[in-house]
């Protein structure tokens, strides 16, 4: 899940760019129909999750199951409100914390790698590329050993740090790619005006990089929100746990109330939906910026 974002974002960009110059063939309604059917098949599990979340417990084991939420119940969502809110709040805090850590670390690094030409910068970029490939279970085990000795198992800052390791390499690479595109003339102009590198970074580079900041933030938030492996290893015994553990425990304890489980799953999917809607807009903005630059 974590690291797929780089290509996707780029592809969205490419897609958006070419859509504008594509000419539309005349008779395409049947292709659209095939497209709609394919999308429906692909999204069926998501429809099913929503359908089950609205199914009455008494109908849950019915054979064949109800294909549509006729006579829906909202008891699953009531269960979410009464039982899962603390988990959702924890995930929100962990997600926001991860975003802050990721931005603070990766934006300056991206700026340095893109514009300040550090010796050994190429090697450092290579390290970030490799670090994205380390399986989560290995990081989790290492963190577990360290946190146990430090006594910070089951703590939110510990979980935030661990979750940020998913997003920081991505953030550095994305910021480097985007900040490389900022014209050097802008930097030299600031320098001539007597601005320090820090000043240039804060008042010129960061405002221009708004879109990449939003993109990195959204992905960092989504990955922290979705994280299961760090949560289950580093926060498995904690009093405050994220929503992924909330759902996991729900599945374990409670094999009957699948409407509540699926209702929780629907609520846990909201950030992904928001990301899809919001990030697309920002990606589109990135495309126009690129078009002007070229």
């Amino acid at each position: 899940m974590t690291t797929f974002a780089t290509p996707s974002r780029a592809a969205l960009t490419a897609a958006g760019a070419s859509a504008s110059k594509a000419r539309r063939p005349r008779k395409t309604w049947y292709i659209t129909l095939i497209g709609v059917v394919l999308t429906a098949v692909m999204l069926f599990p998501i429809y099913w999750m929503i359908n089950v979340s609205l199914t009455k417990t008494t109908d849950m084991r019915k054979s064949p199951p109800n294909w549509f939420p006729i006579d829906p119940t909202f008891s699953g969502y009531q269960a979410v409100v009464s039982q899962q809110l603390p988990y959702l709040a924890t995930s929100l805090i962990v997600g926001l914390g991860t975003v802050i850590v990721t931005l603070v670390l990766s934006a300056p690094a991206g700026y340095a790698l893109a514009k300040l030409r550090p010796r050994g910068g190429g090697a450092l970029s290579f390290v970030f590329l490799i670090s994205q490939m380390i399986p989560g279970i290995i990081m989790a085990m290492g963190f577990y050993a360290i946190y146990l000795n430090l006594g910070i198992l089951n703590s939110l800052p510990g979980l935030i740090i661990a979750d940020s390791t998913i997003a920081v390499p991505f953030g550095v690479l994305l910021f480097t790619a985007f900040m490389s595109a900022i014209p050097d003339e802008l930097m030299s102009a600031a320098k001539i005006d007597g601005a320090s590198s820090w000043r240039t970074f804060v008042s010129i580079v960061l405002p221009i990089s708004r879109n990449s900041i939003v993109t990195v933030s959204l992905f960092a938030f989504l990955w922290a929100w979705s994280d299961f492996i760090f949560a289950s290893t580093l926060d498995g015994g904690g009093k405050i746990q994220p929503i992924t553990l909330g759902i996991y425990k729900y599945i374990g304890n409670n094999n009957q109330e699948w409407n509540s489980i699926m209702a929780t799953a629907v609520v846990a999917s909201i950030p992904a939906a928001v990301l899809l809607i919001v990030a697309q807009r920002y990606v589109a903005a990135g495309v126009t910026a690129g078009a002007v630059k070229d």
């Binding site: 070419s18 497209g35 300040l116 590329l129 380390i134 299961f228 289950s232």
Partner: protein
């Protein structure tokens, strides 16, 4: 161009090579000349910006990885884990892991899971990319919707698939019965568990393949297709003679990246089957987790050893990927 290629390109030409014009190499510069001082101070500034992330890398990447190696070459018990005085045992844990009856099944399952996942993800992703290349009404919206499975938290996808594949009340068996095929114990029979988690993983990975291959298609000139049409080529010939050969570099990158990321998959398998029944869907990553955290008596040494084997396999494919990408970027 994709960002991956951009980052690949920028790392392919290390910033150090592009020395600022003030100090061209080979040109003798006085030790204390203002130019030399300027370059040196700009290096200080650059590394000051990088310092936080470098410290972070050392603390939160290098130390956990070192700890993992340390775990794998010592005989840790729960007690010595806390006290940190476990005896050094060299490669004992690795030998234990190799001789474990789970080792070869875990390797086989990992191979099956990764290869079958990639085969289907790539084929379906390619077909969809070619399909979406025909611009039609709603194509942008539908393509965006295709991303949803990939953005969902894995626990959401995994639990939804668990319920869909439930033996008695799952929708999949209900449909199979309606067609007179009869029901399958997807998650509870050793013969089907691995296939079930692979199906779920294919579903999650299709968007990734679609998106990269689609962006690859954008870089193929439309003139080629037009020329082929004039020569009377049909759609099938156009795919095999133009699309497929020209997409080969992008395809190789997609597949290698897919390999690296599929090797890492843990959540889906653990949530759906816990590697069971009877280890029938255990892969290297779930086995490592099982050893370290899955029971009341953790075996950290062997768990770390399995993890380190996994990381070596992942890095081999990862380096291949980076090599491919750089070759691509240099073109």
């Amino acid at each position: 161009m994709t960002i991956t290629q951009k980052t690949g390109a920028s790392s392919a030409h290390p910033a150090g090579e592009a020395t600022p014009p003030v100090a061209s190499p080979g040109f003798p510069v006085d030790e204390n000349s203002p130019q030399r001082r300027k370059v040196r101070s700009s290096q200080w500034v650059a590394w000051a910006f990088l310092a936080p992330v470098v410290i972070y890398l050392a603390l939160f990447y290098v130390v956990p990885l070192y700890k993992n190696i340390d775990l794998s070459i010592r005989d840790y018990t729960v007690r010595s884990f806390v006290q940190g005085n476990a005896p050094f045992t060299g490669l004992d844990n690795y030998v234990k892991v190799f001789n474990d009856p789970t080792f070869w099944p875990a390797i086989f399952h990992t191979g099956f899971f990764v290869l079958v996942s990639i085969l289907f993800q790539f084929t379906i992703g390619m077909a969809l990319a070619v399909f979406f290349y025909n611009k039609f009404r709603l194509s942008g919206t539908l393509r965006a919707l295709f991303l949803v499975p990939w953005l969902l938290p894995l626990i959401v996808s995994a639990s939804t698939w668990s319920w869909m594949l439930n033996s008695d009340s799952g929708i999949v068996n209900s449909v199979l019965q309606a067609f007179g095929i009869g029901s399958i114990n997807w998650l509870t029979s050793p013969g089907w568990a691995l296939i079930s988690v692979t199906i779920a993983n294919i579903w999650i990975g299709i968007p990734f393949n679609l998106v990269i291959l689609y962006s690859g298609l954008q870089n193929i000139s439309a003139d080629l297709y037009e020329a082929a049409s004039l020569d009377g080529a049909n759609a099938w010939q156009k795919f095999w003679r133009i699309t497929f050969p020209l997409l080969r570099p992008v395809s190789a990158i997609t597949i290698l990246l897919g390999l690296v990321y599929t090797l890492k998959v843990f959540d889906i398998i653990w949530i759906m089957t816990k590697g069971g029944p009877a280890n029938s869907s255990t892969t290297l990553s779930t086995w490592s987790y099982q050893l370290g955290f899955g029971s009341t008596l953790p075996r950290f040494g062997p768990a770390a050893a399995v993890g380190n084997i996994l990381i070596i396999v992942a890095l081999i494919f990862g380096l291949l990927y980076i090599l491919m990408q750089r070759r691509e970027a240099r073109r």
